[in-house]
Amino acid sequence: MKMRHTMLLMAWAVLALQARADAGLEQREGALAAKLRCVVCQNQTVAESQAPIAKDMREEIKAQLAQGRSDAEVVAFFEQRYGSFVRYTPPWRPSTWLLWCGPFLAVFAGLALLRRTLKQRSAGAMPLTPAERERANDWLQQTDEENRP
């Protein structure tokens, strides 16, 4: 009786471990598919796309992970065949520096321009000299008198 219990427990443990390993693989498969571009649909990842080639790519990812390949190896497999185009996130290399830095450069340039403009504007709002103030008051009084009925 005790023997049977132990066997059952062991079988259950094996199954549970297996299920956990499968879930781990599935998660990695999903993550990889989300990192690769569907080569026929450009703006969709392999995970999102319903194109037959994306389905083939998902199958390939699954098969390679099951064989024990690492994530990097799988990405390299596709990159060797389809070029870096297949990576949804472009690699960091001299030809992509502008691509990666461009948005930040644009924001900094905009901020610098804003700062300059604001500075110029506040520099323009200088306090009046006493003479200027007197002339302004004269004008105001004149217009007040003219407007009186």
Partner: protein, 172 residues
């Protein structure tokens, strides 16, 4: 004068984006350029008991045309390939991609058969090794077995004259 700088920025952006729109992001040269062509370990369409003999093609320039009977542009391309390959003496081999051999053979009977031989890539795995995006695609492979050019889409008279043939002549 006030608007000179914004106008200049706008024009520069417009020109840059306009040029970008003219380009086809899919028309990238193959990642396999100047690399050894992937191994085609596949049976022949004509005789499934025989393997595609890629090693025998060493020493000559040949074209690999990826095709399928379900691909409409391929049907139009087949008679042209028959004509051009005969006229210019360029051997064309086929990779029958994700197709049913019966239908593939039937199409060749109707539309003409430009291929010295076709390899059957039933599950598309060899196509993946070649990094193909769609059917048809045509590769130029040189005497050392390296990929020298890839054309996406159907071969037309212009494509043959202006793209494929010059590469073939250059690597021969």
């Amino acid at each position: 004068m006030r608007f000179a700088l914004p106008l200049a920025i706008f024009l520069a952006l417009a020109v840059m984006l306009g040029l970008g729109l003219q380009r086809d992001p899919r028309a990238l040269q193959t990642a396999l350029l100047d690399q050894p062509a992937p191994v085609i370990a596949r049976p022949l369409l004509e005789d499934p008991r025989q393997p595609f003999d890629q090693a025998a093609l060493r020493g000559q320039v040949w074209l690999l045309n990826v095709w399928a009977s379900w691909c409409a542009p391929c049907r139009q391309e087949l008679p042209l390939l028959v004509e051009f390959s005969r006229r210019d003496q360029v051997p064309v081999y086929g990779l029958n991609y994700k197709d049913q051999p019966d239908k593939a053979r039937a199409l060749l009977r109707v539309a003409g058969n430009p291929y010295v031989a076709s390899a059957v890539d039933a599950d598309g795995r060899t196509g993946m090794d070649f990094g193909i995006q769609g059917v048809p695609e045509t590769f130029v492979i040189d005497g050392q077995g390296r990929v020298r050019y890839r054309h996406l889409g159907p071969v037309t008279a212009e494509v043959w004259q202006q793209k494929l043939l010059p590469v073939v002549k250059a690597v021969q």
